[in-house]
């Protein structure tokens, strides 16, 4: 009886306790200031991805884009170690893009992809997620070569903590497939994503814009294969040009991210990181300024300015001065000491060189992500290579005018009239007599049209540097890509050649050692700026 009693009591207690356990403790462990996937609107992540693609707070903009790529292709130059790209030195800053974008862009775009997968209410949003994912990874692989792709960003979903590096070829194969499938799948009878800051307001026109965006992105990706796989490139071009209006048809189709001075997240990251660090050290390169001056480019006076001796700013095109690449202040080396290389320095000092005009570099300035001008110039390139010179000429004209007038996105201060653009075009007609000359002109215009998207300018230069006509600058007027004169900074990491890829960040050697070693082994055992990536094959 006594023993029985205790069983009763124990039983009652167990019942009570298990009743309280029935209450789902899992729900308690959800932060009440946030929500779970079930209650979330993934559109909010689209906004985040589109903003973060333009950069994060952590420094890839100044260190990788402006301190690296923008200087490799001699749009910019500097005397500071802060922006070392014009001297082809190894820099930890080249790894910033890799380090930051896997966190800032890959993580949210994978979340966006996962949260919209197989959900009819997010049908179009999922296609856009695929396009954004492709856009994000395209740049990462274009900068570094083999990178984690298939396993990347899946720390939460698949518990993959040390993703493998995939070959660029396999990445590109998947990117082309993804972009073409997602674009074709977009449907005007499904949802109109509300978090989209590329194209608004939402509606059928938004879906039409995304179709053009997808096809234009597909064109850019296909054209990357010019060197390594022209047949594949051509097959995509054929599809994309079979009907009119498949790709972007005007500047109104440009994918643009607006920024604002509201918060870190909304800032223009170029302005935030350049102005927030050492803005005085970053100057236009002599190559860029001289070329635009020779060509009487109407863009120069809206994108550049310098301080005159009286400390007033001067935007007159003819007064702009570019800084020779690969120089430092001081030292005894006559090839690199700016005081010896450029006597002008003695007169004007570093202030006397042109730098980015606040029209294009300010905390609220927009980022042009993918443009009609680029698209038309790529179509001109494709036509000049594999099609008719007449088509090339049409696309060239569209591209040049669009590239000049697209600056209106930066506001009235940067707006150039169509008349002025036409005037520039009239002065620089496409030379249709020779393929190399035409390609030189087309890709020169592409080089300028990518100004402020230095990554893309460098990618396209690597794609085309073999088969275009270059023009030297010394007093020779004419058309064609300017010769990017290699600099010879002592101890540079490239034997005085323009870098062909960025090396991986140092922490990869520690955090992801095995995957890193495998990737480096595929490049012949070394992780160098001079290694050529898959699509940049040397032929």
């Amino acid at each position: 009886m006594k023993i029985l009693n205790i069983y009763y009591i124990a039983g009652a207690m167990l019942l009570l306790a298990s009743a309280s356990c029935v209450k789902d403790l899992t729900k308690v462990n959800v932060n009440p200031t946030a929500v779970t996937a079930d209650n979330y609107d993934p559109n909010l992540l689209l906004t985040e991805v589109q903003l973060n693609y333009c950069g994060s707070q952590a420094g890839e903009n100044w260190a990788t884009e402006w301190g690296g790529t923008g200087e490799f292709i001699q749009q910019m130059a500097s005397l500071d170690g802060f922006y070392p790209g014009d001297k082809y030195l190894n820099s930890a800053g080249y790894g910033n893009y890799f380090d930051q974008q896997y966190i800032a862009s890959v993580q949210p775009v994978i979340e966006l992809y996962q949260l919209t997968k197989n959900k009819p209410q997010y049908y179009n949003l999922h296609q856009i997620a695929r396009l954004m994912k492709a856009l994000v990874f395209e740049r990462i692989t274009d900068l570094y070569g083999d990178v984690p792709y298939f396993q990347a960003g899946l720390g939460y979903y698949d518990n993959i903590y040390n993703p493998a590096f995939d070959t660029q070829q396999s990445i590109y194969t998947d990117l082309l497939k993804e972009v073409s499938q997602a674009t074709d799948s977009l449907s005007t009878s499904a949802d109109y994503p509300t978090g989209d800051i590329f194209y608004f307001p939402s509606g059928t026109s938004q879906i039409a814009e995304w179709k053009k965006f997808g096809n234009s992105l597909l064109l850019r990706m296909a054209m990357r294969l010019t060197k390594v796989d022209p047949a594949t490139a051509q097959s995509y071009i054929a599809k994309l040009t079979a009907a009119a209006g498949t790709t972007m048809t005007s500047n109104a189709d440009n994918a643009i991210v607006e920024h604002s001075g509201q918060s870190d997240e909304t800032f223009n990251r170029d302005a935030q990181t350049i102005l927030g660090n050492d803005s005085s050290g970053l100057k236009f390169c002599k190559t860029f300024i001289d070329t635009l001056k020779i060509n009487k480019d109407p863009r120069l006076h809206v994108i550049a300015y310098l301080y005159r001796n009286d400390n007033n700013s001067d935007t007159t095109s003819a007064d702009q001065v570019g800084l020779p690449a690969g120089c430092i202040l001081g030292g005894s080396n006559p090839q690199v000491n700016i005081q010896i290389v450029d006597p002008y320095f003695q007169v004007a000092g570093i202030q006397g060189y042109s730098t980015l005009n606040s029209n294009v570099l300010n905390i609220s300035a927009p980022t042009l992500v993918l443009t009609y001008a680029q698209t038309e110039l790529l179509l001109a390139d494709a036509a000049a290579r594999w099609g008719s010179m007449a088509d090339a000429e049409t696309h060239y004209k569209n591209g040049v005018v669009a590239a000049i007038t697209q600056l209106s996105a930066y506001g009235s201060g940067a707006t150039i009239s169509v008349t002025d653009a036409d005037g520039y075009l009239a002065a620089h007609p496409l030379n249709t007599t020779g393929q190399a000359a035409a390609l030189g002109q087309i890709n020169y215009e592409y080089w300028i049209s990518c100004f402020m998207d230095e990554y893309e300018a460098w990618c396209n230069w690597r794609r085309t540097d073999n088969d275009v006509t270059h023009k030297t600058l010394n007093g020779i007027t004419g058309e064609g890509y300017p010769t990017l004169y290699p600099t010879h900074y002592p101890g540079n990491a490239t034997m005085s050649t323009i870098p062909r890829r960025l090396n991986y960040p140092a922490d990869q050697q520690i955090q992801d050692a095995a995957a890193y070693r495998a990737a480096v082994a595929r490049m012949g055992g070394s992780d160098l700026l001079t290694n050529r990536m898959w699509w940049d094959v040397n032929n």
């Binding site: 306790a17 403790l25 899992t26 959800v30 966190i103 990347a152 720390g155």
Partner: protein
């Protein structure tokens, strides 16, 4: 601030008035005296057999005593109120107050203890006889904490208990305390034990805002300084896993059980008064060079600008008494005035505590006690202080013969004024106070307003570096205040059936509200430099902890010799922390420091909730009076870990064998062997780590056709991957021990040997960022400790008038990190690197926990340091990082002596820790700035480059930072007490006891290895900062009087 405290004082008066009412009310319940005849029967509780021949006596009146007859009956005439004492050999003596009842039946429980045997409080507050306990438990009497006291009673435990490592944090009057029991259990998380007061688990979160990288911040104190020492009866420390097994995951770091003083049934009315006043003075540990003054390159400052630029550069000329420019443009003698700078700045503080308590014990078995405590610490830290008022009551009600209700509550209200910034130079009063050149008198930094400002109110900068704040400005103009209100209450209802079963139900809640205000005025030089126009933070923090417990049990007598005591329980716990913070910059109106006056305010809100369900049970078997076995089990359901997995059952088994009962050894009072094994679970520190969550981070306004469209910006998760597979970590511990008492307890010996394994410790492992995250929280840490604990006590001399008692303890505990899930190490923290220091701590596989790493110069093939001939010093760029040992002290000991001659008492406590290491940023910085004696002698030129001494020593300092890792060993004379106990006869027995003592704490450091600072100068109790020293509040010595009166 002052106004606020005035209202607190009013509150105190109100409480006092209330309490008097309360006491009077209860007192009036006492009955008038009458004579009564009491009858009853005495039986054995387990067998229900009658007990014949038991003594029934009136307490305090041995003349009135009867014995029970053959049927167990008795009859006795008493004058009520009275207390009847029932005694019979082999049974526990019972005392039962007589009120109105005329029949008192008594059930005798078989005595599980000998007369005079020590009772021990074990898990869940269960008291057991010493002999029954199969694991080590240490007990400290409250009296040990009240004479030479510290603001937090926890600090007073230092040196007293084997296996318990206590170290105060050098962060001001309400600084926190770091307590680790038997080494760390969490390699990267919280290691503080669970504190339980009278069965109520307390919140003990530490508001440490110090940046773990050493970039400054404040220590907001922890939850234990809210307890008034005068309310503590005993502290029982459960160290091993078996001892804490019934607490499950909460006991994984050990448990400190606090039993408060209570009214005693039948004891009548009593008043106790304790009054303590101590003065507090800084201890100046510095021993810097006094030959050279501020300046550069061997030259004294030539002008005011030089003087400001060299405030942290003691590379000037020899101190020759010449008139030289000071930072304020005034010329002063270039001679040594450094001695006394610290005591000029840290003025004499005063700390007064007063406690009065009233108790009333009723004759029906009920009792109550209320107490008021008031603490006012005018700290030696300038313009800082700590004030605390406590009000507690415990009431134990006997409602009829089967039902008891225990009600207890504690209210504390506190004000901490200006908890100082520590570690880095910004806003840290201790920085410049420590590093002033020897020719600068700190009083010259006061300025015309006496508070480190210039005439116009701007900070008076003595240094060219805006981020080195004038110490007077830090103390008097920067503002910080923490107000705390805390209410802890519990109700415990227990019904015992006549058959012996009981059911207990307890609800306990701990509620803390903190309000923290911090103002950085626009006049601070670093605020001006940051261009933020001043800023203010208002933080409101609410913490609650609710515990509901249901318990049941009974003691069964299985056979004549074997009995078993069964206990089953269920617990529900909810813990909540809510943070509401308003921060903003730019004060619009000058000198009005409210958040409403901020131009750019922002709000933040966070809410952490954890819930747990638990079932537990224990069975205590006892065979005769020498063999005991306890088996426990506990199952915890965690809200913070993987959902759906409920099969975590943590067992423990412990046993003791009292061999002295079998082998009668001469002069041995008790000989016991004990052995235990337990496996207890551990949890994570923070909730919300298992599931991905999504939120908002502002919005983007996009202009479209003259309208602005707002696009909310989302985010998913954070930098750490949520892990939905997190399971509890486990602490598995095997312990054996022995306890032997000799010569009528004049010699006691206690030995424990244990091995503790921590398995599946939840640690943040660095993962590749291409996964989308920086870290993952994984169950991968494995750690082991081996330890020995010895407690040896005795009374070497015991004469009629003279008594000498000595208690010593000795601890050895050495840990080893066994694995970290494939990672070779996890970095805990690094010292502030913008001062050129680079040392860091890591958990490293194969080594003791908390390894300190620092730069070490390049060596050649023979191990000789490579000297750069251009500077005669090693090149810091070629240095590599080297392991300089663990921050943990594997050895520690304490010895407490108490002498008593007639009514005089003299006690002193000596304690020490040995074998650990500490990196000292103070010494590094003193070296870099030329203040350290290491920077002597000074030559004009070193090496082929002819560099000055500053470059030479700075190169040595940067290249060999290992030289600033010191042995952390020390021996301190911790406290002395000299007292006189006035005999009650002096006061005609009107006063039952009066004791007056002179007390002194932190008397003297007998031995230490680290120069210029105290070896215990850590600036945070977080595990990440252990092993690091950086300029924080220098230690102090307190001395004064303690008066205790019992009415």
């Amino acid at each position: 601030m002052k106004k606020k405290f005035y209202t607190l004082k009013i509150d105190f008066l109100q409480f006092a008035a209330l309490s008097v009412l309360f006491i009077l009310m209860f007192s009036s319940m006492a009955n008038a005296q009458t004579t009564a005849v009491i009858k009853g029967k005495v039986t054995d509780a387990a067998s229900n057999e009658v007990v014949a021949g038991a003594t029934v006596a009136v307490k305090g009146d041995n003349a009135t005593a009867v014995a029970t007859d053959a049927q167990g009956n008795y009859s006795i005439t008493v004058t009520v109120p009275a207390v009847l004492v029932f005694k019979f050999i082999g049974y526990t003596t019972q005392e039962i107050p007589v009120a109105k009842q005329s029949v008192i039946n008594v059930k005798f429980d078989e005595a599980s203890e000998q007369l005079g045997e020590v009772k021990i409080t074990t898990a869940l507050g269960v008291t057991k006889a010493d002999r029954e306990v199969g694991y080590s438990v240490s007990t400290v009497k409250g009296a040990a904490l009240t004479e030479a006291r510290t603001n937090s009673f926890v600090n007073s435990l230092e040196g007293r208990v084997a296996g318990v490592n206590v170290s105060g944090v050098a962060t001001g009057p309400n600084g926190s305390t770091n307590v680790t029991i038997r080494g760390i259990t969490n390699m990267t998380g919280n290691n503080q034990p669970l504190y339980v007061v009278d069965g109520v688990p307390l919140v003990n979160n530490n508001y440490n805002t110090t940046d773990l990288g050493g970039y400054g911040g404040r220590d907001g104190g922890d939850g234990m300084s809210d307890i008034n020492q005068d309310d503590i009866e005993t502290i029982s420390i459960l160290k091993g896993a078996a001892a804490t097994a019934l607490y499950g995951y909460r006991g994984a770091n050990g448990v400190v059980l606090i039993t408060t003083k209570k009214g005693k049934a039948g004891a009548g009315f009593g008043i106790e008064l304790n009054s303590n006043y101590v003065a507090e003075k800084v201890i100046d540990e510095t021993d810097f060079q006094t030959q050279y003054g501020q300046g550069n390159g061997g030259t004294a400052p030539q002008n005011q600008s030089d003087a400001m630029g060299s405030l942290e550069s003691v590379w000037g000329g020899p101190l020759n008494g010449a008139e030289v420019y000071s930072f304020d443009g005034v010329k002063r003698p270039y001679s040594d005035v450094s001695k006394g700078n610290l005591s000029r700045f840290y003025t004499t503080g005063g700390n007064a505590t007063n406690t009065v308590s009233f108790s009333q014990g009723f004759d029906n078995g009920s009792a109550t006690r209320v107490s008021f405590g008031d603490l006012d610490d005018k700290s030696y830290v300038p313009n800082a202080g700590f004030q605390r008022m406590t009000f507690t009551q415990t009431t134990n009600l006997k409602l009829g013969k089967n039902l008891t209700l225990d009600l207890s509550s504690a209210y504390a209200t506190e004000y901490t004024k200006n908890a100082p910034n520590v570690a880095d130079a910004v806003g840290n009063m201790n920085w410049e106070a420590m590093f002033l050149p020897p020719n600068v008198n700190i009083l010259t930094l006061k300025g015309p307003n006496g508070n480190g400002t210039q005439a116009d109110g701007e900070e008076l900068n003595a240094s060219a570096d805006a981020y080195t704040t004038n110490p007077y400005y830090s103390a008097y103009v920067l503002q910080e205040a923490q107000h705390r209100n805390r209410f802890t209450g519990s109700a415990n209802l227990k019904y015992t059936f006549d058959s012996g079963y009981f059911i207990g139900f307890q609800v306990a809640d701990d509620y803390i509200n903190d309000r923290i205000t911090e103002v950085e005025p626009p006049t601070a030089a670093y605020v001006v430099d940051e261009g933020i126009g001043g800023d203010q933070t208002e933080e409101n923090v609410k913490q609650t902890e609710l515990n509901i417990d249901l318990t049941t049990g009974k003691k069964f007598k299985v056979t004549k010799d074997l009995s078993v005591d069964v206990l089953l329980g269920a617990n529900y716990r909810k813990s909540e922390q809510e943070y509401l913070t308003e921060y903003g910059t730019y004060f619009v109106l000058p000198n009005l420091y409210t958040v409403n006056n901020l131009e750019f305010p922002t709000d933040q809100y966070a809410l952490n909730i954890e819930e747990y369900n638990s079932l537990y049970g224990s069975a205590d078997f006892s065979y005769k009076n020498y063999l005991y076995l306890t088996v426990t089990g506990r199952n915890d359901w965690y809200s913070t870990l993987a959902p759906g997995k409920i099969n975590y059952l943590y067992p423990s088994v412990s046993g003791s064998f009292v061999f002295s009962e079998l082998l009668h050894i001469e002069n041995m009072d008790l000989g016991k062997l004990r052995m235990s094994y337990a496996n207890v679970g551990g949890a994570v520190d923070q909730p919300y780590q298992t599931l991905q969550t999504y939120g908002l981070q502002g919005s983007l306004g996009v202009p479209v056709n003259n309208n602005t469209y707002n696009y909310p910006i989302g985010y998913a998760g954070g930098l750490q991957v949520p892990n939905s597979a997190l399971v509890p970590s486990s602490r598995r511990e095997f312990e054996i021990g022995t306890e032997m008492d000799f010569f009528n307890n004049r010699l006691t010996f206690d030995l424990s040997v244990y091995r503790k394994n921590v398995i599946n410790d939840i640690v943040p492992v660095s993962i590749d960022n291409t996964s989308g995250y920086n870290t993952a929280l994984l169950n991968v840490g494995n750690l082991r400790y081996n330890g020995i604990e010895v407690a040896l006590g005795g009374t070497p001399v015991k004469l009629k008038d003279f008594n000498w008692e000595v208690n010593g303890n000795f601890t050895y505990a050495k840990g080893k990190v066994l694995s970290l899930g494939g990672e070779p190490n996890i970095t805990l923290s690094s010292e502030a690197s913008d001062n050129g220091a680079s040392a860091y701590t890591q958990q490293v596989v194969g080594k003791e926990p908390l390894q300190i790493y620092a730069a070490y110069p390049e060596t050649d093939a023979n191990g000789k340091i490579v000297i750069d001939p251009t500077t005669d010093a090693p090149n810091p760029l070629n240095s590599t990082v080297k392991d300089f040992g663990s921050a943990e002290n594997p050895w520690s000991a304490g010895i407490d002596n108490a002498f008593k001659y007639k009514h005089f008492r003299f006690e002193f406590l000596i304690d020490g820790k040995f074998g650990g290491h500490i990196y000292s940023e103070t010494n590094f910085w003193a070296n870099q700035s030329g203040l350290s004696k290491l920077t002597l002698p000074r030559n004009e030129a070193y090496g082929t480059d002819g560099v000055y001494a500053s470059t030479y020593y700075a190169n040595w300092g940067s290249a060999d930072q290992g030289q600033f890792v010191y042995s952390d060993s020390f021996i301190k004379l911790r406290q002395i007490i000299f007292g006189y106990d006035f005999p009650a006869s002096v006061f005609n027995n009107k006063i039952h006891g009066l004791n007056l003592s002179f007390v002194c704490r932190n008397v003297f450091t007998i031995f230490k290895a680290i120069p210029n600072v105290d070896p215990e100068s850590s600036y945070s109790s977080e595990i990440q900062t252990q092993g690091f020293e950086a300029p924080s509040v220098p230690y102090s010595r307190t001395f004064g009087l303690n008066l205790k009166v019992t009415l």
